[in-house]
């Protein structure tokens, strides 16, 4: 079982968390102005990389806060976690190294 570093609580076991899919997919400011194609991209299309992936996670059975994480989908390694609205310290290329 992985340990995940919740920005609020520190290292906690994986079973307390839930993954919320790809991070940094912002809801459009004015959805009604978004065209059909772009809206369907927003709704349904997500990245599925082999390697480092930015994801949303929530510490569901802990503080209840959402945060972001860089996770390597090959090794399951959490490269780093960072608060909602924040940016990761490492770039994807660095994280892969």
């Amino acid at each position: 079982m992985l340990l995940i570093d919740c920005p609020c609580c520190g290292l906690r076991p994986e079973t307390e968390f839930r993954c919320g899919g790809q991070a940094h997919v912002a809801r459009p400011e004015k959805p009604v102005d978004v065209g059909d194609q772009d809206w369907s991209e927003y709704l349904f299309v997500r990245a599925n990389p082999r390697g480092v992936h930015a994801e949303r996670w929530i510490h569901q059975h802990g503080c209840g806060r959402w945060f972001n994480a860089l996770r390597d989908t090959v090794s399951d390694r959490f490269v780093e976690t960072y608060p909602m609205g924040g940016k990761p310290k490492s770039t994807t290329t660095e994280a892969r190294a």
Binding site: M1, L3, R27, K30, V34, G64
Partner: protein, 994 residues
Amino acid sequence: MAQHFRLPSGGRIDRSKPVSFTFNGSKIEGYQGDTLASALLANGVHFVGRSFKYHRPRGIMSHGSDEPSALLSVSRGPGRTDPNNRASVVELREGLVTKSQNHWPSLNFDVGAVNDLFSPVFVAGFYYKTFMWPRSFWDKVYEPFIRAAAGLGVAPDVPDADRYANRHAHCDVLVVGMGPTGLAAALAASETGKRVIVADEQAEPGGSLLHASEETIDGKPAAEWVKETLAVLDARENVILLPRTTVFGYYNHNHVAMTERVTDHVVDPKGAPRERLWQVRAGHVVIAAGSLERPLVFADNDRPGVLLAESVRVFVNRYGVLPGRKIVFATSGASAYQAAVDAKRAGAHVTISDLRLEADCGPELAKARAAGVEVLTAHTVIGTVGAKRVKGLIVAPVTGAGAIGPRRTLDCDCVGISGGWTPTVHLFSQSRGKLAYDEALDAFLPGTSAQAETTVGASHGDYDLARCLTAGYAAGAKAAGSAATARFEATPTLKGFQPVRVMPTDANPAKVRAFIDFQNDVTAKDIKLAVREGFQSIEHVKRYTTTGMATDQGKMSNMNALGIVAGQLDRPLPSVGTTTFRPPYTPTTFGALVGPARDALFDPIRTTPIHDWAVEHGAKFEPVSLWRRAWYFPKAGEDMHAAVARECKAVRDGVGVFDASTLGKIEVVGPDAAEFMNRMYVNPWLKLEPGKCRYGLMLKEDGYIMDDGVVARVAQDRFHVTTTTGGAARVLNHMEDYLQTEWPDLNVFLTSITEEWAVIAVQGPKARETIAPLVSDIDLSPEAFPHMAMREGRICGAPTRLFRVSFTGELGFEINVPADYGRAVWEAIYESGRKFGITPYGTETMHVLRAEKGYIIVGQETDGTVTPDDVGLAGMIAKAKADFVGKRSLARQDLVASGRKQLVGLFADDPSLVLEEGAQVVADPNQPIPMKMLGHVTSSYDSPNVGRSIALAVVADGRALMGTSLFVTTPGGFTRVSVVDPVFFDAKGERINA
């Protein structure tokens, strides 16, 4: 039998404590400290089972957890029977009932042994080749055959009577193994004061030192050193010593799982659990799991009486048991010589047959000869004599070039075989560490660690006692953050072996059955065949031949199988790869994994404060998510139909009372609460006055209905939101997600208040009169308290949030009171309503009443692909709002296209026919198959108030089909229905405003 093979003295058994058990019905005696294997051998029993595929007689091969063949059913009493126990790891305990497996009718005479004669049929991949065609055989012939043949023992068929515990633990250093290396590591790690856990799968700590004969450590006999070391460790408060504890799984971030066998060896556990599952999070893991001996591969090497050489030594030295009177050791390495010398000293007639040339042997040769052991060097093994017990070993001289000389049969009743050693790298491999092949040791050794882990000692290919101790100590210290080292003096170990895959033979290779994997009956021939058929990766060969499957997991077979594949392909061994070892290291009971999560703790059941009242009043219950809800309240002699009909009439004619406490409830609080609600629900909220309620409809971003419920604005900055019973957690998560991640600027707090409030729905024309005497501080008159209003006040003196709402279409109230007052208020209402014939009703009546009114239930009329317009709720949408979750999607092409399924009512032509929920709707029952499905029935009931059956359905363009006829599937065919308005009762909605 009277322990004829027990030595007169020696061993670590307690001869003052005889223990009796049964094997296949015969009573057998051993001693405290025996395993089943040592006790059976002490009584001369070798033949204890039949093999998996060929049903060949099999005996005890090993003293440890690598035992492939001696698998017994062991019973400790009713509900305490397990199959497939390795005799070598079951501690003897008074009264055990043990049985051999995989034979019929008896161990000695087994019909399945005929498989042995037909062995050409059972070649590698025979499952894949045999059970192909004809197709009609799959279900009726092949599957029953495979199921009957698969597996060894018989699974228990009664509930497990034992209790299992679990425990989570943290430590700085976890040491796996209490052999010399592990004990030295534990000493060093605990010296620092760090928290140390030390686990070993055996009953007694000490590992290989427990069967030491001549070995000394720092001048002391090895067993003495073990005793003193354990005393030191035991006295340290920072050390947890766990014997009988198998580390079976090594997962991410040093999460290590182990099972402790707490009471299997105790006659009266006094309520203690059988096993305890430990989940340890370790700062550093030191793996000192030792090594496993390899068998030699030659014809009929599986006969009872053939043991691993080191196991012979263990039975002699540790258990005081001589596995045979005339023992031949067949070896290609040095360690078997020590076993031979010890067996000779114990009184056996001993011969060694060594594949190695005289010049390639080390000091072991002189030592054995000095002890009076005859040694045949440069000899191969051609095969064995004997079926149910080995009677002789056929050996022959072999030259360096491979020429084989004349055969000679060595009479014997026991053979000790040794093909060298394999480091136990299972846990290292599970931790995702990379293995590296070491040609000199002919073994895969731990290479690069993937986690905070160190593998040391024999697990790392180090077979010298002094070096294991020194390296173990250093590794333990380092794991605890110290640089301490210690020097140990110890007797040099006889070590070194010549790797051999299959012993050279002059026999016809087509007729030779030389077993690689004893448990799965895989021979060298099978592996060669698999390679000839094109399987080149060891992972494929493993699956095709089943070698290294089941409990073996490559413990005995891995290196021999790899070596044969590499030899056949003429490639270096590492290029064939090694199999990935996966948890568990040894079989783990389901009980340990399940732990306390069974029976009442398997799945929690939620009940309301009024639950017990409903039980006392004879309610039948139904599960709704984790809740148990009162379904209906039958009176004496009533069936469900009669009870529901009575309840339905009572609500419309007088008054009914319903426990709605399971409704999800969320309090949305803060200066931006109304703005937040405005974005989360389709409805307008900004102008809703405090004290007013509104039916809220929630969409997912894709535009489909997610949930619904009545929402009251309690204050300017406070909403009391209700959700569906099953949707409470989902809705809160959904709200939290948007609040935290999209609109963190909104000043809003969300709190789940589902359990804080009991909710009592009082519904019917007499509802007001029923509650009026109990309510204070609230004017209940229709003018002061209209439909969809909410007031705070008191009922029976308890604070209440009183909603005037209705899910029945009648005058109704939903009374929220703090949960602790729930039952008292319910009883007061019930008492007050008696003069009006107040009737408690359950969820079934609730469903019928709302269906009579055409009210949808999310999850019944909707299925995650239904829009507000589909169910006639487009009017709820605040058109003026610029945005809310789901708004943009309502304009998606598919959601505005014609042909969408719309909510309608259906009347079957036969008013007594209740359609089946889920039944398909078609226009023409005579059209060719596949028919065009127009939709399906979502709700269907017999309605006492409408006076006939009613149904709700979603039908393509249904609203345009009002008045037309359609057809609905029935168990017998089709029935004709007419499409009607989905509101069946009080279409004008007058009653609700009474």
